[in-house]
Symmetry: C2
Subunit: 425 residues, 2 copies
């Protein structure tokens, strides 16, 4: 981790620059796969599953038997842990349901909004180095709370034509019944356009590699919604002189182990602490199996020492991290001043990993500075809100002149007439 | 308007097909303008304003004097109307503010969400055939409620280098102080990338022609958020035998006059009513100044007669209209069954034009079937929701085993370690 001492505010932008990934070179390749699946359905899915994953599959749907078998393959302890996490995620997300509130804006003019679950949604769970069953909970639980009618899940199978048992257990637990063994661009294509076995959905959620990210961008241009734009995962820790260097080092490492492109940023008011954290990182690195990945990530990471806590807050807000840990004496006060972040972890006993799994908050969060304008996934992500208005005859009288004058000024006679014809009736 | 009698459900998809616009032919041209403004700032803005609008501007910022002059140019009645509309929009949208609610998911584990206004937003108000000052209210009021710190507005000036006084009055009324006379792709570019005079924003809102739509799509791929994907405006009316043919005709016309590409759909359980409505349209057409535009729109429009009201509801849900008017005896019951629509107008005294201007609901709504997965603009569109968690030492103990087991199963040692190191401390 490179250390920067008291950088000038004019250098912040450069200092906070994230690596940019140009996915335009992938676009043609991804487009071709999308179009092939759109036109040739299951046939193309099978072809790409063989080509990219080296697996010959005749049936993508996970059977009931497979789900039952998966449950038997997991320890009671892990199943209990997944259940506990699911309970907390459910408890937190259930509070996001909004009730209908009728607002009478003028006598006889009632307006309201109602949240309605998006009918058909697709969840993508990548394969790769870690079986992300926690993401199944993070996407599946709010989808269920939102009352989405059709929830499908796609994930690439392993060489034995199976999905990881924890993925199946988590999906079963949240009530997802349609699980397909298909991954990559071809999975995104199948959910976007539909095939003989996989039904098209209206919105696609979930993480993925650069090909999947590119595919999600492209299908968005075809009118299918996606959860949010993606980028490598990241953490920012604000630490003052009261922070525990061991704890801070463990948090930075838990981000660094995600991937070689993970972004780790330490902002501190205390140069000694930064040194201590660096030492602790070297000690703790020895104990983790993904050491190589973590070292690569740390090479691209930065520690910044600032003059005072306000500068730290401003710097964090400018960076807009996906995860922000506040390891400071007055963490609560600092949290109040944060305006750009995905999820905030307050104090010494709130490591990022609790939010990644089980505190209750969602772990699908805006990366790459998108926290400046995007929220993480929540029940909101799985609903659309329809507005309604009902006017009585009196209500229409109240507002008639207003509408007529405005329509006239905008040059829209027929708009005016729709009111006038009712008033004059 | 072409009439279709009792179509078979298998023909619905074709029947409800919207015209598709291929904007890929515009992409290169739009990209070049975006890049030019990105690189050359105000110089490029001036160039394109001259080239496309035929106006030579040295200063894009609307002055205080111009705003004062605008106020004097409007009638007291229109100003009062705009004020009334603004009041209703404010009343309705203010209820969309969500309070922080702390959820204790387990003893010592507190989680919550907080809505924070997106710091910098840009509103685009097109020029063209109608001065859309109502859109200034519809975007500016929720932006102010959301507490966005920087709200800028771009709109192309007329040949006299002025903006329409009603646009300036509405902007001033809602408290927007930075108004720039620039339109089209170059305005979107300026707000996305910033120039010497116009500051870059994080999210861009507002309607526009196909070039503007294309520009918004492209800048979205560069990480700037947009309100929603766009398409031509549309209305669907569900009318039973109790509907008033005059009212229905006036509603269809008020949509048809928007533009030649406006979509108008009448669904009725009663063939006689459809005939009556068609007759009424011909009568009312004579009274409107935008008759030509309306006729063009009606040529592409459809009336569909269905077997019963449930079929009408299903058809409307399949179409997912931007605006849905329910002109039926039991309009309330029908409204309950609507799952895909932007905004719903219930009963005989709720014409679309009240929602377009003044009932209080927002008129920036999902078109083109996007109501299946997108909501209209609301205060939600101008905020992001940050999640927070704070664990006590006891709280961390409660959840430690859960997180450790899950992290281990996902193969993420450092995640596990971030908990263990705190527990063992």
């Amino acid at each position: 981790m490179k250390t920067f001492l008291y950088p000038d505010i004019k250098d912040w932008k450069n200092l906070l620059q994230r690596p940019t990934y140009d996915i335009s070179s992938l676009t043609e390749k991804v487009k071709n796969i999308l179009n092939d699946v759109k036109q040739n359905g299951d046939f193309a899915l099978k072809k790409y599953t063989q080509q990219f994953d080296g697996i010959e599959l005749n049936n993508f749907l996970v059977t009931k038997k497979e789900i039952e078998e998966a449950e038997a393959l997991l320890s009671t302890e892990l199943k209990q842990a997944i259940q506990t996490a699911a309970n907390n995620i459910l408890t937190f997300h259930q509070k996001q349901i909004t009730n209908v509130e009728v607002v009478e804006t003028m006598p006889g003019i009632c307006c309201w909004r109602k949240s309605i679950g998006i009918e058909k949604v697709g969840l993508y769970i990548p394969g790769g180095t870690a079986p992300l069953f926690s993401t199944v909970l993070m996407l599946g639980i709010p989808a269920k709370i939102a009352n989405c009618k059709e929830i499908i899940l796609c994930s690439p199978s392993n060489k034995n034509k199976k999905l990881h048992p924890a993925i199946l257990f988590a999906a079963h637990l949240v009530g997802i019944t349609k699980i397909y063994k298909v991954g990559g661009v071809q999975a995104i294509a199948a959910m976007a356009y539909g095939t003989e076995t996989i039904e098209a959905v209206y919105k696609i959620f979930g993480p993925g590699n650069q090909y999947v990210t590119c595919a999600k961008q492209l299908i968005q241009q075809n009118g299918i919604a996606i959860d949010m734009p993606a980028g490598p995962s990241e953490v920012c820790v604000i630490a003052d002189e009261t922070a525990n260097a061991k704890f801070v080092a463990s948090d930075l490492l838990s981000q660094a182990e995600h991937g070689a492109d993970s972004q780790v940023l330490l902002i501190s008011t205390n140069a000694d602490l930064v040194n201590e954290v660096n030492n602790e990182i070297n000690i703790q690195l020895e104990k983790i199996s993904r050491k190589k990945i973590a070292i690569q990530a740390l090479e691209g990471s930065k520690a910044i020492v600032v003059q005072n806590i306000n500068e730290a807050i401003n710097l964090a807000n400018e960076y807009a991290p996906e995860h922000l840990i506040i390891a400071c004496d007055n963490a609560d006060t600092i949290a109040e001043k944060i305006i750009n972040a995905g999820s905030v972890f307050i104090g010494n006993y709130s490591p990022e990993s609790v939010g990644d799994y089980a505190s209750g908050t969602n772990h699908t969060l805006p990366t790459n500075g998108f926290a400046k304008m995007y929220s993480g996934v929540s029940v909101d992500s799985f609903v659309k809100k329809i507005t309604y208005q009902k006017l009585t005859q009196q209500g229409l009288h109240e507002i008639a002149t207003t509408v007529e004058l405005m329509a006239e000024a905008e040059g829209l006679d027929a708009h005016k007439n729709a009111v006038a014809i009712r008033i004059n009736n």
